[in-house]
Subunit: 347 residues, 2 copies
């Protein structure tokens, strides 16, 4: 009843030694067919499960993937819908590989006699690899972790040459957004950036600039307003753009959340979206299709980001140590109701 079945009990009950039981369970070839069968039967009967702790101790492999998920103190962790979807893919993929996920929560695990660093928290739990999201890549502690023996992958964060970077093709995404608006006849196209210190924030801005130049549109500094991915910054940015002498007619907002804020402010100011102002978001969050107007946006395959992160990690753990340093997933323009031809449907 209470307590767990140990390998020793199995040994006793099946009349062999613990060594043999272990080998039978782990599928070693040098076990008599009949012995193995007996042991397996017994194990199933007693619902034996190897203790992870003991096994980890001796094999130095925990079959656990750590996750650091920090999204700033301004906004509670886990708040941005993006991360949840990534976690979902991550969970799926590691699960299929026989791994579980450890979500780091404790600041001072162990005995708490010292503030623990990223690296220490990984070592403490012997995680076989770790996924970093929303962390500041220049943080000295992050760099130390990345340089350590622990396999790392960053989702949307560039950790340098020794780690894998998994992300969407943000440059292309922003470019596609601009081109979409251009195709609709817009020429005054502004952008609201994400957190510019983050990799996607920077890349999307770059994509915007590239497209503006390629299309031979005038690049205007005042058409670039800086946000932080969240709703309120989108509102603020919109207000700023509305105050311009020549406000834009098209807007590339580099997250759906900010797009929501931008649209709200524009609407409050009497503008109609998309009639007076077209806006395209970024992400395709679950609610994007359900807004009014429904959000035209650049879709990221968030679940797949998670799956790729897992895959990269497991590959590195179980197979080759050398890895493509970067996995870039394609994005997709999803046209919905928040964009329209300039000046309404004409010609």
């Amino acid at each position: 009843m209470a307590g767990r079945t140990t390998i020793r009990e199995l040994a006793k009950l099946s009349g062999v030694s613990v060594g043999t039981v272990s080998r039978a369970l782990n599928g070693y070839p040098d076990v008599a067919r009949e012995t193995r069968a007996r042991i397996l039967r017994l194990a199933a009967e007693l619902e034996y499960t190897p203790g992870a702790a003991a096994r980890t101790l001796v094999t130095q492999r925990s079959h656990v993937i750590g996750v650091f998920l920090e999204t700033g103190c301004d906004h509670p962790d886990l708040q941005h819908p993006f991360f949840h979807e990534v976690m979902d893919g991550l969970k799926q993929a590691v699960g299929e590989g026989g791994y579980d996920l450890l979500l780091f929560a404790a600041e001072r695990p162990g005995n708490g006699f010292v503030d623990q660093t990223y690296l220490n928290r990984c070592r403490h739990h012997d995680v076989d690899g770790v996924v970093l999201m929303g962390v500041w890549s220049e943080d000295p502690e992050v760099r130390r972790l990345v340089r350590s023996e622990v396999p790392c992958v960053g989702v949307d964060v560039d950790l340098g040459a020794t780690a894998v970077l998994v992300g969407s093709d943000n440059v292309a995404g922003a470019r596609m957004a601009v081109e979409h608006l251009h195709r609709l006849g817009h020429r005054r196209i502004a952008t609201v950036t994400g957190l510019i210190e983050t990799r996607p924030g920077m890349d999307r801005l770059r994509g915007y600039r590239t497209a503006i130049q390629a299309l031979r549109l005038a690049y205007r500094d005042e058409y670039v307003v800086y946000g932080d991915y969240y709703v309120d910054s989108g509102s603020a940015a919109m207000a700023q753009l509305l105050a311009l002498e020549e406000p834009p007619t098209g807007l590339v907002v580099q997250s759906d959340l900010m797009a929501v804020g931008a649209i709200r402010t524009a609407t409050a100011a009497g503008l109609r979206v998309p009639d007076d102002l077209s806006v395209v978001g970024f992400d395709d969050m679950p609610m994007a299709a359900h807004m009014r107007p429904a959000l035209t946006t650049i879709r990221q395959d968030k679940a797949r980001l998670g799956r790729e992160a897992a895959a990269a990690l497991l590959r590195r753990i179980e197979r080759s140590p050398d890895q493509p340093p970067t996995v870039t997933l394609p994005v997709e323009l999803v046209v919905r109701g928040s964009t329209a031809p300039l000046g309404g449907i004409e010609s």
Copy 2:
């Protein structure tokens, strides 16, 4: 560089035995002030972290809380915004207590020689407690887990007397929603339920019924339509209600997601919300305030649900084994734009 610092190295370097080091680190009183200081200094210097595996092995305490999060195969795990917010609170609270979270992902951990049950997966990792969300409480395997030695708490799922149930006051919430509509003059008030097999689904329906009776409104079977919490079921339910001879003028939708679907369908049918139809949702998901119209809803304190779940677990683990079997958090009516007086603003 590579590899971790062990207690043995500390012992060697500080010139004492491993026993003393261990006691010093764990704050035992019987260590010379000066010896302890030296050891702690050294530990800090070398960034010593106790290995969780070894410690778990001997103490039988992992300082890890397991999480089972399953939200059905129809809808990808983790999809419903509700759970993310709960996880956030959970993470915070367990973190403060020095625990980390293990998100169960692997179906067959260990050697994979047998499909693992909930209980086995908990034992495998020696989790000190486990939080269950979105699981079917009648599942025999769930029941076995609950009856085991592993402390359990269900968020929105009633696991029986041996576990703690943390949830919102769903009955009161639904009642408040009905009363709000009634106060606005509505008399034909329908409801779209959540998954009726779940505890909140049932409780909210009960709250609706109670309120209808208390207000002496006629209870009509056709005013109760069954949904599954997600957007599409809200749409379908709305369509069904619209086809009635006497459609409702007020609608209590038992999740915000379904409210979104319901409103969309109503709007598509030519109804204006809230002018022709008032709808109140349930949850107050992050996007609720940003919809058009903004959603009137019953707010749950989701983060606090997580925190309470953690608190209940840690209490049971570290202190008293006897617990209040249920933690019920108050909800709050948040009036926004999707509800209005019957017949517009009159009198």
